[in-house]
């Protein structure tokens, strides 16, 4: 057991584009209580010590996906990571890896959002039904095929864990490919053919080398590595079946 700390040092990688060309570490000492998250530590800095510090947050309970950052070198939600687990410190906090830093802990999310839009992350009904025809029904077994992949909160921790995304920012990446699979694996959906173009592309599932760290850091147990890698099989089938069937292997 550590002696009960009264304060803890937090080092933040600061980047203020109008002020410095490369990011610099800045150390703050914040009062420590056993129930304090890293986010609360940053909020203390912003409220009491240095109002210029920039970071994103919203819900404080691991569902909005805003407060992801590198904490002691590992991608994590700062609201869900507790300072007591990082004693004695200093705790090093840096913007999510593999994304351009806009300012301090704020990264550019535009590339991620563009990718997310490209996979049509919504149900495209096979045969649209009118309200009078009732709901689209599904069995528990059909639900189980995609349920875990629908837990994604777009926090982008998996991107910060993916060296392939870091090396090639055009790679569609774990989170978006997991969401692509979430819709493709849904029995109510008919958009598979449109999404396969993204999946089959060089920047699609084949950009993945099964590092597997994305699934380790996912706070919602989505297991994006599984979604991506089982779709390598689907992509290979999609490619080879075209030679066997005039309908290109489409069901």
């Amino acid at each position: 057991m550590h002696e009960i700390a009264r304060s803890i040092d937090i080092e933040v990688l600061r980047y203020r584009p109008e002020q410095e060309d490369t990011p610099v570490w800045q150390r703050y000492t914040v009062p420590f209580t056993a129930d304090m998250s890293v986010l609360q530590g940053l909020q203390h800095i912003k409220d009491e010590l240095d109002g210029t510090l920039s970071f994103r947050w919203s819900c404080r309970m691991a569902i909005c996906g805003s407060c992801g950052m590198m904490i002691d070198g590992k991608p994590g939600l700062s609201c869900q990571t507790f300072l007591r687990d990082l004693l004695p410190g200093p705790v090093r906090v840096e913007a999510l890896a593999h994304f351009p830093i806009e300012r301090d802990l704020v990264v550019s999310v535009a590339p991620f959002v563009e990718k997310l839009e490209s996979i049509k992350p919504y149900l495209i009904p096979k045969t649209p039904r009118t309200l009078a025809e009732g709901e689209y029904r599904q069995t528990p077994a059909q639900l189980a095929q995609f349920e875990q992949f629908s837990s994604c909160i777009n926090c982008m921790l998996c991107y910060a864990a993916c060296p392939q995304y870091g090396l090639d920012p055009d790679f569609t990446g774990p989170g978006v490919l997991a969401l692509l699979h979430r819709y493709n694996a849904d029995s109510r959906d008919g958009g598979r053919a449109e999404r396969m173009q993204v999946l089959n592309a060089e920047e699609g599932v084949w950009g993945c080398t099964a590092v597997g760290y994305c699934s380790e850091v996912c706070p919602k147990h989505v297991d994006p590595a599984n979604a991506v890698n089982q779709n390598k099989l689907n992509s290979a089938k999609d490619y080879f079946l075209r030679f066997l069937s005039p309908r290109g292997g489409k069901p």
Partner: protein, 135 residues
Amino acid sequence: MRRPAPARPYVRTMHRWWRRDPFFMRYMVREATAVAVAAYAVVLATGMVRLAQGEAAWNGWLNALQTPWSMALHLVLLLAFAVHTKSWFEIMPKTMPFIEVGGHRVAASTITRAGWGAALLASAVLFALAWGSRP
């Protein structure tokens, strides 16, 4: 009011990225063991070629295998194969669609253990066959 400065996003380097996290280092080791697999394929393929060239060539290859250098190489390759097998089956559940048995999804750890079990069994059978057929 001061105008906001134009955006000037800072892109961090990926230089020596694999040294950033022990997870990445284990990944690199796993990938590197594939080289050992390829190397041993070359050793075996050489044996096939020597076999086709006749008895003298075949015996030459067998003798070459018994040199200390070859023994050391085999030890290194065996170690690499063990790491390869272990890590390969660890990642295997990630590469498969969900498997259901009796209405329950088979856990990833079960798939991994089944893979390790199959590898051990195959190795044991192969070893027994080799041992039983030694001259």
